[in-house]
Symmetry: C4
Subunit: 314 residues, 4 copies
């Protein structure tokens, strides 16, 4: 007897069923799984952190680093002694320190006014080291700023809910996406997968839900992505309760090309059963031509829906 | 009865027919649809704007920013008072301000001549802040300049018109492209789609027009892209009036690889029915070998055509 | 008689059998083959070396270069003579040199305090040259730092051993991978190839070993990659000795997409026969949900295995 | 009668036969076709030129630009007058100009020693402008240096000749490639196309020559690329004269992935009939293991061949 040792579709989340309510994909598309037990070097991925942190945090970090480095060097200079610095009018400890702090800032940024200058070998060496650190730090900042800006972002926004809506003479599972950014997205491809508890085996299964249309050329207007719930669908005849009982999570994976940079971008999202609305349809989004003949669309209406009677299947 | 819930080719422009004359793709390949109702953060995509604006605007922006930042810091220094700056010869208000403006410029660019220098804590702090802003601004400028230059551009130019020309024993829909840049384009793939009003349903349909040749390896000479209008073509037997009545728009999507950077580049264009010339053929472009045996071609003749009798179909 | 001149799968390692124990792929995924006889220009690939060397080496190189360049310029300035420098208090040779060394550092980093300054034409020219070299060197450092940080790295870690383990009613060849980094890997594809000595021809053959599952969407947990050793497998009925006799090397090629940068990343690894454990199974890795419902996994257990009786094939 | 309006393989070089000896692809892989009649803006692609010019030219350009810009600003400062500059000891015209030239260099590089400094409004303004130009120029240089270094280069080297060699019981068209660089090339794919004059129609045809093996996983050793000249080959039974009469050019297109940067790289080459050696075989390249078990290969023997009797076909 010949057997087939090929396995079916697997997302990489395993088949274990965890007791608690949990989701595999967060709403921002990141995977909701923590990896522990990694080596220290692997846990700290400096560039990754600096590239992905928020702008507020990043700018705060830059300012604090700048302040701290200057405090450190000012301390060194202070320990070397005020006599090592030309033109420094000796005063109170605090005055000396503040003067040396400013000297440090002028050295780190390579401004170098020079009204205070290092006279001794130790002061000169320390200043030479600081200015080099300044240059390297600046080089780093340049790279990080460029990395932050040029990182591919999809800008795809999703409707807040996924709906079971009337669709032709049957029902359809539907959600909407749009592009919230200025850049153009082209060659958009979507994939929809349901993660459900198999009630017999108590294992988690991942089943692809075929789409009525899986690829469009431009994400110019909104796009309503539809899975037709026909007799071949794994969720055929499911009602609102069935989705909850099977702890359903709908996982969406979208790939597109950002036309400005000719870069592939990836976007993911998931809807848990409690974000599914059973028996509703999306309200049409206003789109029309203005006086110049340009078509426009109102992206803020992406999530709006209204109740709708589902088709009764005989 | 089994039904098929797969939808046919859709570009992402929807099927609505707007009353006015409008086009989906602009001549520069951008999508002619405005997205309204986006959040403020999404509307302002600084990097995108700085990367895609014209050089004139960009340089103007740099100059104005430089001037404005210096005015702001000069004002701060002026408010702190001339006594806080060593070597500053006190004069008229205007003279003081202009001296401090130059001091600001020397701090921002980190030139730091130092003939004027900050003496007080407040002046020193402000100068330390300005020089750091200068460094970060410069880091930003470096990234943006690199981003502007390295952004993939296809350099593909299109003939001004699309023609219905005699082609073998039938007719063909034809347009020409060439590469206007120095870099080499390889693996060029073209797709042609017609967007037409279906006169019965009054809906817009998008139909692919198969090409006689859809891919070439080098865009070395010009390339005449041809759709043979045979009995399978959706525009079979169309005359000039039919194209206008159905509000036809021919949408072209081209993908290629820019050999200098091994980058995929995308180019798009569209022809409305009023850019279609019925009964014409492209004039041959001059191309020959020079004395050294090198083949050359004259790109400026790309759009030239001459009247031509179409084949009569029996 | 028609013949087929197509060759089968070849990795590019040729078919020669070298007498000594050797491996084609190192544990870091690099190819274990040296290319000799290259031109000097080809052998020295500066950017490649600067990008791929360790951080310790790189920082050491930066510091040494900084020191050496300053020594060189200080020597030039010293040869030009102390009289060419304004404000330089002439002292011992050593004192003069050290002052000029600091002047050089201040010029190279463009700090330019100016308490010492070039007075003669030759000193001015040399300083103008040095400051330009400083700027270019800094530009270079910026690029290299960015290149080092933004270089795509997969972060995939492999189990220390490859196992022949019980698998369903037969045996399977198995190894495990996980992601050791913070970033997300998506669309992971794996390929497994065995390189063996053909005992009859004494030639080396490269045979693909089909996988039970060759692609997953997320590398969120660990992934156990399995080749089912059924009757179609080239290593069907092999025991531990057979793997050694045939000098087996298992070559793994993995391709994935790093989600942070939307970049393709490649990872490779190989197991020689002495890294194969015959009759063992991987210990399950602890993974559970914490209080907040987040699933976690302990990556440090990746290589753990326990002895296991293999299925007897009838 | 149904006709087929699909065209066969076309490289994009057209079908015209130029009288003179010429080649479509240069030995460096660039296309040997000049595009005339382009607009000025298109002809001048500054970034492309700066990225692709030789290092010698590039460094010369940087040095000359630095010199010229300083001369220009020195002239401005000179016209403004020596009185506008503090600390400038007025001397001969030449001395004043050289002092101002150095002042310009110190401003452009933002060294700013400050022993000379601008006193008047006009001098201050000009210096503020120059230091900003310096910063922007430096930003540009940073981007260009990074662009030059990070540009994907394949490093593939080709044997000097293409051979018709004995191959199994027939003949084969063969050439060899190797990687001359330190980085690893993976997933190498090759395509071979012959461009010939069709002696009946006098048109140029482009025919693909199928390869015995079209893809390897690693370019670790050398790779001999073979087209088996069997009865299906377009060059079946061709002798040395036939290749010349038909003005044959063998066009090679190779695609690979540079493993260091996970970048696709493209390499092209062509052999004209006078680079074809009829009746020869490549000498085996020395490759062996050293004491540590590492395999090595001598790349410098890539082009070596020896005469060989071709198989007689019955």
């Amino acid at each position: 007897m010949k057997r087939n040792y090929k396995r079916e579709n697997d997302l990489g989340f395993g088949t274990r069923n965890y007791g608690r309510y949990n989701r595999f994909l967060n709403k921002d598309g990141s995977v909701n799984i923590k990896r522990r037990g990694r080596s220290l070097a692997d846990s700290i991925d400096l560039f990754h952190a600096l590239i992905t942190m928020s702008w507020t945090k990043f700018l705060l970090l830059v300012i604090i680093s700048y302040f701290v480095i200057n405090v450190i060097f000012a301390t060194f200079y202070y320990l070397i002694g005020y006599q090592s610095f030309g033109n420094l009018e000796h005063g109170s400890n605090w005055k000396d320190f503040s003067e040396l702090f400013f000297f440090s800032a002028q050295t780190l940024t390579t401004v170098g006014y020079g009204y205070i200058y290092p006279k001794s070998i130790s002061a000169g060496t320390m200043a030479a080291v600081e200015s080099m650190i300044g240059l390297l730090g600046f080089a780093l900042a340049t790279g990080i700023l460029y990395g932050r800006f040029s990182r591919p972002k999809s800008g795809i926004v999703y409707s807040k809910n996924i709906l079971v809506a009337p669709y032709k003479e049957i029902s359809g599972l539907m959600f909407r996406i749009a592009n919230s950014k200025q850049n153009e997205l082209i060659e958009i491809e979507a994939q929809l997968i349901v993660s459900m508890k198999d009630l017999k085996t108590n294992k988690r299964v991942f089943l692809p839900l075929p789409l009525e249309l899986a690829k469009i050329n431009f994400l110019a207007l909104n796009w309503t992505i539809v899975h037709a719930i026909d007799e071949n669908s794994p969720i055929y005849n499911y009602n609102a309760e069935d989705f909850e009982k099977s702890d359903s999570e709908f996982i969406i994976m979208i790939k597109a090309i950002n036309d400005t940079y000719s870069q592939s971008v990836y976007s993911r999202n998931s809807y848990k059963y409690d974000e599914l609305v059973y028996g509703a349809r999306f309200s049409p989004m206003i789109n029309d031509t203005d006086k110049k003949g340009q078509v426009w669309i109102n992206v803020s209406q992406l999530s709006e829906y209204e109740p709708a009677e589902l088709n009764v299947l005989v």
